[in-house]
């Protein structure tokens, strides 16, 4: 009688342990996954912010010559011939900064270079930027920049009417989106969700360019 009771206690302890350990590991895995997501989000914020600002490091009216390419990071080569040089500068900055944790990231591809767009207000309906002619559509980052059409007509970049309302300010905006894939990591054991990180940054022209 006593022996069977003890055996029951042992079985209970084993059962408790078998229940608690997976729950504990599940919690730790998800905690680490959230920490990774936070750090990747920080990096993405940083990369897009630097990308938007670097557009202004390029000469304002410069256009990339034939045969210009950029950004041979994780197998992506973007042909930027005929696009504003500032667009390539932004892409090079983005790819140069976003180097860590790239094995975890599945990028949502976008058009590299766009123009126009309006955040909108009462008198101006919001408008989406349009793809710049000839811009590659397989980029990991998209930057909306001002451009110059034939004949010297300046097409503004994104008009943000929350800045200096109601007329707004022309700003450069860059955005990027990626999903975090833990499938090839030990965290896959306990992480059953695929977080998505997204960053958008605006940059104003420096005073000497305004």
């Amino acid at each position: 009688m006593r022996r069977s009771r003890r055996r029951g206690d042992d079985a209970q302890a084993v059962l408790e342990t078998a229940l608690v350990i997976p729950i504990l590991l599940f919690l730790v895995c998800n905690f680490v996954a959230v920490m990774v997501q936070v750090t990747v989000q920080e990096q993405l914020n940083s990369a897009t912010a630097l990308a938007a600002q670097s557009r202004f490091q390029a000469p304002e009216n410069a256009v990339d010559a034939s045969g210009t390419r950029c950004c041979g990071v994780h197998g992506v080569t973007l042909v930027t011939s005929g696009l504003p040089t500032g667009c390539r500068y932004a892409a090079e900055t983005f790819y140069g900064t976003m180097r860590t944790d790239t094995g975890l990231l599945q990028w949502h591809t976008v058009t590299l270079c766009t123009s126009g767009g309006d955040s909108g207000n009462g008198g101006h309906p919001p408008a989406q930027p349009v793809a710049y002619a000839g811009s590659p559509a397989n980029a990991d980052v998209s930057c909306d920049i001002g451009s110059i059409k034939a004949g010297g007509v300046v097409v503004p970049g994104y008009v943000d009417r929350t800045l200096n309302p109601p007329s707004g300010l022309d700003v450069v905006t860059c955005s990027a989106t990626a999903s975090l894939d833990f499938a090839n990591t030990p965290l896959a054991w306990g992480v059953f969700w695929t977080p998505t990180v997204h960053a958008q940054a605006e940059a104003l022209p420096p005073p000497f360019r305004q």
């Binding site: 730790v28 410069a62 045969g67």
Partner: protein, 208 residues
């Protein structure tokens, strides 16, 4: 009088075998619990430190991109100046970790040009050079190719990108301190957390 206490149940002592079982269970669970606890705390610490490093590196890249020795300079800014600019921000997050500049000095005592200062590629390289729990700030510059006369049928500038402004890269790389003190865990330095954050941007240069 004595009969009044006959019905009282005295607490029985735990059999010695069950006490031993509890001890074994405790011995099994405690390391696992501590492993999970320290792992979770270290993950949080790593996230905080990485976050601070990321924002510091972004700031450093912006400083370095506009801090050339002259508007026409093709020499990377002094890594020590960039380190000094961001060290206050790093020190508040990287407790227990030393922050140093990574540069090869030239004859004048300043950090040498990019040809002589190669940034470390792995945290282990920093540890081998400067010891455990050290992160270094390294600034390097990549210059564009020199422009040449374009071949027939090819428009200037040639080669493509030859008129670009140089690219500055700021690295913060090394091992940061974790909650496990030195002397414990694998390796001579105890548990440390590797870090390798960088930011790249074009420099602000004016046409000659």
């Amino acid at each position: 009088m004595g009969g009044e206490f006959e019905g009282v149940v005295r607490p029985r002592r735990m059999p010695r075998s069950r006490g031993g079982q509890a001890l074994v269970e405790f011995a099994v669970v405690l390391p696992l619990f501590l492993f999970c606890l320290i792992g979770a705390l270290d993950a949080g610490l790593w996230a905080v430190q990485t976050s601070a490093e990321t924002s510091a590196v972004e700031q450093a890249a912006m400083i370095a991109s506009s801090a050339g020795s002259s508007p026409l300079s093709d020499v990377a800014p002094d890594a020590r100046a960039v380190t000094a600019a961001i060290s206050a921000r790093l020190r508040s997050a990287l407790f227990g970790t030393a922050i140093e500049s990574w540069c090869a000095t030239d004859a004048s005592g300043a950090c040498g040009p990019d040809t002589t200062q190669r940034c470390p590629s792995t945290p282990a390289e920093v540890q081998a050079a400067d010891g455990p729990r050290v992160v270094v700030v390294c600034v390097s510059e990549a210059d564009p190719p020199v422009c040449a006369t374009p071949p027939p049928g090819q428009a200037a500038p040639f080669p493509p990108g030859c008129g670009d402004s140089p690219m500055i890269t700021v690295h913060v790389i090394g091992f940061v301190a974790s909650l496990v003190p030195p002397g414990f865990g694998p390796g001579a330095g105890g548990f440390e957390l590797p870090t390798d954050i960088s930011a790249t941007t074009h420099t602000l240069r004016f046409a000659p």
